[in-house]
C-alpha cells in the first residue's frame, strides 16, 4: 500500500510550534468526553501515563497489559535516569541545548519539531513526577540532584539511585490506580492484544486473549493507543524483559500502518557479557557507571593477565584516547562500536574475549569506597550476584547488548499512525530519537507522550469522530476474531519436537551477527534468506502443546516468535536499503578511514517508512524527508 505521509508539523519557528498547535487543535467538550472510549495497550511509562491522563480528562478508558500487574511493564527496569532541561546546575543547559543534543545524538535522523517539543516538555515531567511523590535523589539542601549521562556536556539527568524507571513507573502506576479506583479506567492485566479491529479505514478496537483463562475477547473503542515498547527481543538475547515483543506493532503493520526505520536499534555499551548456552537474557549495567568508571583493554593482544597485574602504561583507555572531549561519556552507539572494534581486533578480555573492563579503581581512590557505594551500590551488588566477582576489587567486564529500538510505528506530530484512530507512544513509535537515543531520554519520551502529548492530540482526533460507532457484532469484529482464532489453532496443531524458544534463539543469533552492531550488504542478504528458511522450519517443526483455554506460556511465545520472524526480515530489508552509517546503524561499507560512521545526507536524510504491499508480497518504502533548520546538519563528532 502506498502511504500518503502527512507529518502535520505545525508552521512557525520550532520553539513556537507546540504552543501554536495546542492553541489551534480541536477540543472535546468536557461533558462529551465520557461518551468517548479509548483503548490503551501497554502500561509502561507511556501507556500508564496516557491511560491515567485520559481518565483524569473524563474519557472512558480500557487499559491492557500482558503482565500480571501494570506495574511490571519493562519501563520498571530503566536504571540511570531521566533528562530534563531544568538547568538546576547552572551549567548552561536549556531547552534548546537538550533539543540540540538529542538531534545530534540521534545522528540527524529525527524530526526537529518532535524533538524540540520533547525537550520543552521535559521540564513539566519532572514537576509532575515530584508532585506524585517520586523520590528522586536530593542534595543535602533538599533540592533535586543531577548526574551526567552520555552525549551531553551538562548534568541534566534526574535519578532515583539505579532505579529511576521503577520509581517513575510506580508514579504513573499510582496515577493509573487512582483512575481505576474512580472507575474511569478499566484495567485488564494478563491480557495480550493479538489483533486490531479496523473499520472503514479507522482503528476501532482490538482482539485480546486473557493469558490466565485463554478467553478471547473483542474490545471496541473510538481510538486505540499502542504503548507496547520496543522489539530488541528480535535478537533473543537483549536487556529487554522476556515478554517484550513486536506483536502489537506488527499486527498494526499488517493492517497498513507504516513502520519507520526498523533497522535503527540501539546496542547498549555496558551490559554484563554473555556467559553460556542457556543464557536467557542480558543484564544492563547503567550508563551512569561511565560517570566514574574508566573503560579500558590491555594494549597487548590476547593478554590473559589479571587486570590488576597489567600496569597503567600497558592499558588502552580507548574511549579517552579516541574521543578526548567526551571520553568515557561518549554516546552509546560510539562506545558500543569502539568496544566491538577492540574485541574484534583481539584485545577483548574475559573467557570468550568478548568484554572490556569498566574500572572503578581510580574513582574509589579519589572519592572513597563509601561514595561509590552510595552512587552505585545496587548495581555493584547486581554485578557481583551475576558474575560472582566483586567490582569494588576487580574491574567489571562489560560488553554491548541490544537494548532499545529507535524505530517503530511511524507517527505524525499528533502521534497518530497512518491508520486513523491508531496512536503509538513511547518506544513503540519512531518519533524522537533518530538513529540513536541518548541515555536517560527514553523515560523522558515515554512520559512526554503519555502525560503531555496524547491527552491533547487524541482530543483533536476524537472531536472529528462519532462516539461508539462500531458494535461488537460488526463483521469487522468477527473477522478479526476469526483471524486470531485461526492463528492460535495453527500454533496448537504444530506437530514438531522443538520448543519455539529454540527458533527464537537461532533467529536472534542471525540478527545479532548480521543485523547487530555492524551490518553489510552481503551479510544482510544472507540473513534475509536464512530467516526465510528458518521461518519455514519454525512453522513445521515447533511444538506448543497444551490447550488454548488455559495459561499456556508456550502458546504466548509462539505468537511472539512468529511475529519476530516476519519483522526481522523487514528489519534487514531496511538495513540493506540504507546505504550509509548513522547512529546505531553501522554499515561496514560506509565508514571513514579511522572507522567512524559515514553518513550520507545527500541520499538518506529521510525516515524510511515501510508498508506492506497491497498484494501481500513484500514491503514498500515511502520516504519522509527530514529538514534541519535549527541544528546545522553536520558530521557528528565527539572528539
Amino acid at each position: 500500500m502506498h502511504l500518503e505521509l502527512n507529518s502535520k508539523i505545525p508552521d512557525g519557528p520550532v520553539e513556537q510550534k507546540w504552543s501554536k498547535h495546542k492553541a489551534s487543535i480541536k477540543l472535546v467538550n468536557p461533558s462529551n468526553k465520557r461518551k468517548y472510549s479509548i483503548i490503551v495497550v501497554g502500561t509502561g511509562l507511556a501507556g500508564a501515563s496516557a491511560a491515567a491522563s485520559f481518565g483524569e480528562l473524563g474519557y472512558r478508558v480500557k487499559a491492557f497489559c500482558f503482565q500480571d500487574s501494570p506495574r511490571r511493564a519493562h519501563s520498571i527496569a530503566a536504571q540511570g535516569g531521566i533528562n530534563a532541561a531544568k538547568n538546576y546546575q547552572n551549567d548552561g543547559d536549556s531547552v534548546f541545548r537538550l533539543f540540540y543534543d538529542t538531534v545530534k545524538g540521534g545522528d540527524f535522523r529525527a524530526r526537529e519539531a518532535n524533538v524540540y517539543r520533547l525537550a520543552e516538555l521535559s521540564v513539566s515531567i519532572i514537576d509532575q513526577c515530584v508532585a506524585q511523590g517520586v523520590p528522586f535523589a536530593r542534595e543535602y539542601s533538599g533540592l533535586l540532584s543531577n548526574r551526567s549521562f552520555g552525549g551531553a556536556q551538562v548534568s541534566r539527568t534526574f535519578y532515583a539511585k539505579g532505579q529511576t524507571g521503577q520509581q517513575l513507573l510506580l508514579g504513573a502506576y499510582a496515577a493509573l490506580n487512582r483512575q481505576i479506583h474512580s472507575g474511569a479506567v478499566q484495567m485488564n492485566p494478563h491480557t495480550e492484544m493479538l489483533d486490531l479491529i479496523v473499520s472503514e479505514g479507522r482503528c476501532k478496537g482490538i482482539v485480546t486473549r486473557n493469558l490466565r483463562t485463554g478467553k478471547m475477547e473483542s474490545h471496541v473503542a473510538d481510538a486505540v493507543v499502542l504503548a507496547t515498547g520496543g522489539y530488541s527481543n528480535v535478537f533473543y538475547l537483549s536487556t529487554n524483559a522476556m515478554g517484550c515483543n513486536v506483536t502489537s506493532i506488527w499486527r498494526a503493520y499488517r493492517h497498513g500502518a507504516g513502520m519507520a526505520n526498523p533497522c535503527f536499534t540501539q546496542i547498549h555499551p555496558t551490559s554484563i557479557p554473555v556467559h553460556g548456552e542457556h543464557q536467557s537474557k542480558l543484564t544492563l549495567m547503567s550508563e551512569s557507571l561511565r560517570n566514574d568508571g574508566r573503560v579500558w583493554v590491555p594494549k597487548k593482544q590476547g593478554d590473559v593477565r589479571a587486570p590488576h597485574q597489567i600496569p597503567e602504561d600497558e592499558r588502552d583507555y580507548y574511549l579517552e584516547r579516541r574521543y578526548p572531549s567526551f571520553g568515557n561519556l561518549s554516546p552509546r552507539d560510539i562506545a558500543s562500536r569502539a568496544a566491538k572494534e577492540r574485541c574484534d581486533a583481539g584485545f577483548g578480555v574475559g573467557p570468550m574475549g568478548l568484554g572490556v573492563y569498566l574500572d572503578f579503581a581510580d574513582a574509589i581512590k579519589r572519592l572513597g569506597r563509601d561514595a561509590i557505594e552510595a552512587r552505585y551500590g545496587n548495581l555493584f551488588d547486581m554485578y557481583d550476584n551475576i558474575s560472582g566477582e566483586n567490582p569494588y576489587e576487580v574491574p567489571m567486564r562489560i560488553y554491548p547488548a541490544p537494548h532499545y529500538t529507535m524505530g517503530g510505528l511511524w507517527v505524525d506530530y499528533n502521534l497518530m499512525t497512518t491508520i486513523p484512530g491508531l496512536f503509538a507512544a513511547g518506544e513503540a513509535n519512531f518519533s524522537d530519537h533518530g538513529a540513536n537515543r541518548l541515555g536517560a531520554s527514553a523515560l523522558m519520551q515515554g512520559l512526554a507522550d503519555g502525560y503531555f502529548v496524547l491527552p491533547y492530540t487524541i482530543g483533536d482526533y476524537l472531536s472529528g469522530v462519532k462516539p461508539g460507532s462500531l458494535s461488537l457484532d460488526a463483521p469487522e469484529v468477527r473477522a478479526a476474531e476469526d483471524r486470531v482464532h485461526g492463528r492460535l489453532t495453527t500454533f496448537l496443531s504444530m506437530k514438531g519436537r522443538k520448543p519455539v524458544d529454540h527458533y527464537h534463539k537461532l533467529l536472534g543469533r542471525i540478527m545479532w551477527d548480521k543485523c547487530g552492531m555492524s551490518r553489510s550488504a552481503e551479510g544482510l542478504k544472507g540473513a534475509i534468506q536464512r530467516i526465510g528458511e528458518l521461518r519455514e522450519e519454525f512453522w513445521s517443526n515447533s511444538f506448543v502443546g497444551g490447550s488454548g483455554e488455559e495459561l499456556n506460556q508456550e502458546l504466548e511465545k509462539a505468537g511472539r516468535v512468529a511475529d519476530f520472524f516476519e519483522f526481522a526480515e523487514l528489519m534487514c530489508i531496511d538495513a540493506l536499503d540504507r546505504n550509509e552509517s548513522c547512529g546505531g546503524h553501522f554499515r561496514e561499507e560506509y565508514q571513514t578511514e579511522d572507522g567512524e560512521a559515514l553518513r550520507n545526507d545527500k541520499d538518506y536524510c529521510y525516515s524510511a517508512v515501510w508498508s506492506q504491499r497491497q498484494d501481500g508480497a513484500g514491503h514498500e518504502l515511502t520516504k519522509e524527508p527530514l529538514e534541519f533548520n535549527n541544528v546545522h546538519l553536520a558530521t557528528r563528532s565527539y572528539k
Binding site: D68, Y88, Q128, P135, L143, P189, A241, S280, P499
Partner: protein, 258 residues
Amino acid sequence: MNLTLFVWRQKNADAQGGFERYEISDVSEDSSFLETLDMLNLRLVESGQPTVAFEHDCREGICGSCSMSINGRPHGPKKLTTACQLHMRNYKDGDVIYVEPFRARAFPVVKDLVVDRSAFDRIQQAGGYVSVNTGAAPEANANAIEKDKADEAFDAAACIGCGACVAACPNGSAMLFTAAKVTHLSLLPQGQPERSARVLDMVHTMDAEMFGGCTNHGECQEACPKGISIKYISQLNRDFLSSTVKKALSLRGKMQSQ
C-alpha cells in the same frame, strides 16, 4: 552439576496439586535459577510434556514477577535476591530442591508456580497515590525535602511488589508491602493531605483481601529482595492509630459545628 528438583505441578486453580520429581543434569553454575527451569522446560517440550508454568519477565530483579519459593524460602536461599537473580553457584552437585508457588490464601495458585497477586493491586488502588492531575504540579524545586526523608521514602518505594513478604510470613500477612507503600508517601510532604485517609483505606483493603495479621515474626524483612525493614510496619501502625484518632476528632468537630 546434577540436581533433583521437586516441582509443584497444579493444572489450574481448582485442581489438586502435587510435587513432580525431575532429575536435571549439566546445570552450569553461571545459570540463573530460572534458566535452570528453562532447561527443564526445554526437555519437557522435547518429550512432548506440558511445561512448568512460572511467572517471570525482566529477569534482572526489578519487575517482581517471580513468585516461587525454593526449599520453603520465597526467591530461594540468598538474601536480597529474587529468584531470577539467584545463580546456580549457590547450589552444589546432588542437591535436592523443592520448588513451590508462593503460599498464601490471598495469592491463590493459578497454575504450577503461578499465583494471583491482584490483591496487591487492589490495596494500591485503595489509596496508594497522591491525587494530582496531570498538569497541576508546582515547580519541582519549589519545596525542598530533607535528604534523609527523601532517602527513607525511596527505601520504602524500592518495593517491587513481588509478594515474598506475604509468602514468607507464617500468617500470610501483607503488612510489609502495605507499610512500604503507605510510608513511602507518608514520609513526603506531597503525601500529607491524604495521609490519614490513605492509611485507613489501604489497611482496611488489605484486611478485606484476607491477608493475615502481623505478629512480628520478622520473616518478611528476611525474605524481601529489596531489604525493606519492618520499621516501616511500625511506622504504619503509628500512622494507623493517629489517623483513627484524627478521624474521631474530626467527626466530633463536625457534629459540634452543626
